[in-house]
């Protein structure tokens, strides 16, 4: 578990924190470059790389063709030969276009070559629903990546973590994905000006509580915190855990919390079936079965693609209300 954020700093939005994370990483490593679709001239369709082309030039900020497999392949080859690529594949839904490069090349190269390859590749992409981007631009596919030995996966939820995750990822010597959240781009929060890395594989407790441990993945952290605020009025105390890294997963922090609260709930925006909530629930029952006073609750999206129509999309995603209701149900209060 990590210490809470230093509060005496300026506040900037998540979107700017991403830019700063990439910018400072490029300063830190001359062998680092950013490549992806519309990252240079356009500064990304999400505006996350604005100004980087002017600062670093075309050699290091590289617009690519719409070729996700080509982009990831380029990153693998460049990393294997001494560079430190930062790749952007825009919407994480586009993983499908490059899954061979991700799953069969990037993830496995080190292992299948007997430890010879070192691949310091960072892949940035935007996940999550909530903007009526429909079924192919709204998914939360972190489970795909977590299932692949050789990869690491971070899901920063705050501006502080966005910058710190990117810097940590670029410093990392293994392939690592940083799944950003498009609905969080406008969230503001304190972000120190100097470079810093948040530790990979360490969860953070966003709110301490005593009645139930809520493991919230990605943007669900904010929904869980809202629910916690609401339930506090009724004297129900939620402990909100933000794993921050989903691969490797900080099981110890979760288990310690469950041992304290005796109740657990996992909430993610991804489809519930075969989502990482199932894995976390299994780990809790393996390691803290005797501490549990109720079955582990899981909240996730229904087994359907993300709908376009706003009321349906709203119903599709777990929110503070459902988190609160599920907490009450688990606690029987």
């Amino acid at each position: 578990m990590a210490a809470a954020t230093d509060q005496a700093t300026r506040e900037i939005p998540y979107v700017k924190a991403i830019t700063e994370g990439v910018q400072q990483s490029l300063h830190e490593f001359p062998e680092a470059f950013l490549a992806g679709e519309d990252v240079a001239v356009a500064g990304s369709v999400f505006g996350i790389y604005k100004g980087l082309l002017a600062e670093f030039g075309e050699k290091r900020i590289v617009d690519t063709p719409i070729s996700e497999a080509g982009i990831v392949g380029l990153g693998v080859g460049a990393a294997a030969t001494g560079l430190r690529p930062i790749l952007d594949i825009m919407f994480m839904d586009f993983l499908g276009e490059c899954m061979d490069e991700v799953a069969n090349q990037m993830a496995k190269m080190r292992f299948m070559f007997g430890g010879k390859a070192k691949l310091p590749v960072t892949v940035l992409m935007m996940g999550g629903a909530g903007m009526s981007m429909a079924a192919q631009h709204s998914q939360s596919l972190e489970a795909w990546l977590c299932h692949l030995p050789g990869l690491k996966v971070m899901m920063p939820t705050t501006p502080y973590d966005a910058k710190g995750s990117i810097i940590a990822a670029v410093r990392e010597e293994n392939p690592i994905f940083v799944i950003l959240n498009k609905l969080s781009l406008g969230i503001t929060g304190p972000v120190p000006e100097e470079p810093y890395a948040i530790p990979i594989g360490e969860a953070i407790i966003r709110r301490e509580g005593s009645d139930i441990s809520v493991v919230a993945i990605g943007r669900m952290v904010h929904e869980a915190l809202t629910a916690a605020e609401e339930l506090a009025k009724d004297g129900i105390s939620l402990e909100v855990i933000d794993p921050r890294t989903v691969q490797p997963f900080d099981t110890a922090t979760v288990i310690a919390s469950v041992q304290k609260t005796h109740h657990a709930m996992i909430v993610h925006e991804a489809v519930r079936f075969a989502g990482i909530g199932g894995e976390i629930a299994a780990q809790i029952q393996e390691e803290a079965f005797d501490y549990l006073d109720a079955p582990v609750a899981r909240l996730g999206a229904p087994f359907a693609p993300v709908p376009y129509s706003p009321p349906l999309e709203k119903a599709y995603m777990p929110d503070a209300k459902r988190i609160a209701a599920t907490a009450r149900e688990t606690l029987g209060r």
Binding site: K59, V76, G77, L83, F113
Partner: protein
């Protein structure tokens, strides 16, 4: 004084081809006799391609290879002992026994891996070429792939990016006429993969892949062009695999005629070269036979060494999933 490749180069090319042939013949025996596990895709028949290209490369130049990759690795300087040990799944292998036939690599001499995924290599080679340009070296990245791989989307993405960024990269298509068991006529409407080059904005050249000197000349032109910063080339080598898709005799699938195989074997690239070297008094038949003999005894020694090597320990299974600091 006659012109063209020097005697030194010719003998070097010959040695590389013989090394590939003998490595593969012995590997094939090991597989068919059940001595090594897994599937071997043997390179016999295609030696001129690997040898003709690799004769231009230094250890610093990178290659990506294919599932039929032993030939590339041998020609790039892979050592028999570590290669056979890898086939045996032993800890002394190039990949500590973790990769096997389809993943032999040696980064120290620029081998960024054989690859079990058809068209796995080209995007990675493009990345290496990008890196070479970024680091302002004169290294060249060469990717070997087959006619079948040229139908993969990854090929098009890689070729487009290589040409777009004018990368020091060479695309070597080893057109052996088959994607696994499907003949080229049945897997693409074109016959010359080189025709595709124009679509990406790079030159496409066809060369007789059974004639190592033709390959050597063409590859030299393309590699020099890449080193000069003039961009990638697609070099299509028309060749043939003498053995089956997998193994020597293979799976007994009826997909090509014995006559066809026999016809191609008449243009055995090693025989073709040896005839010419004898004709030019570069290497007599007896001296050529001595090379074969020497290489074969090296292979036998390497096999014995590999067979005597230990397996990797089960407790080390997770060691190299991630880099954890050296």
């Amino acid at each position: 004084m006659a012109d063209g490749p020097s005697n030194e180069v010719l003998l070097d090319i010959h040695e590389r081809m013989v090394r590939i042939r003998i490595f593969e013949e012995e590997a094939g025996k090991l597989m068919e006799n059940g001595k090594v596990p897994g599937a071997l895709h043997l390179y016999v028949g295609q030696e001129a391609v690997a040898a003709g290209v690799m004769a231009h490369l230094s250890d610093a130049d990178q290659i990506t290879s294919t599932h039929r990759g032993h030939g590339h690795v041998v020609a790039k300087g892979g050592q028999f002992k570590e290669m056979y040990a890898e086939l045996y799944g032993r800890v002394t292998g190039y990949c500590k026994g973790m990769g096997g036939s389809m993943h032999i690599s040696n980064f120290d001499i620029g081998i960024l891996g054989a690859n079990g995924i058809v068209c796995g290599g080209p995007p990675i080679a493009v990345g290496a070429a990008f890196s070479n340009k970024y680091r302002e070296t004169d290294q060249v990245a060469v990717t070997f792939f087959g006619d079948g791989a040229s139908n993969e989307g990854a090929f098009h993405e890689a070729a487009n990016m290589a040409a777009l960024y004018k990368l020091p990269c060479l695309f070597v298509c080893e057109n052996n006429g088959f994607g696994e068991y499907t003949s080229q006529k049945r897997h693409q409407a074109i016959r010359d993969v080189a025709d595709r080059a124009a679509g990406y904005g790079m030159p496409g050249v066809i060369v007789d892949g059974m004639d190592v000197i033709a390959v050597y000349e063409a590859a030299g032109e393309a590699i020099n062009r890449a080193r000069r910063g003039e961009g990638p080339t697609l070099l299509e080598c028309k060749t043939y695999r003498f053995y089956d898709h997998v193994g020597v005799r293979g799976m007994g699938i009826d997909y090509r005629s014995d006559d066809e195989v026999k016809e191609w074997k008449q243009r055995d690239p090693i025989k073709l070269l040896e005839d010419r070297l004898a004709e030019q008094d570069v290497l007599s038949n007896d001296d050529a036979a001595a090379v074969h003999e020497r290489v074969r005894s090296e292979a036998m020694e390497a096999i014995a060494w590999a067979d005597a090597s230990p397996y990797p320990a089960v407790e080390n299974l997770l060691d190299d999933v991630y880099y954890n600091g050296e």
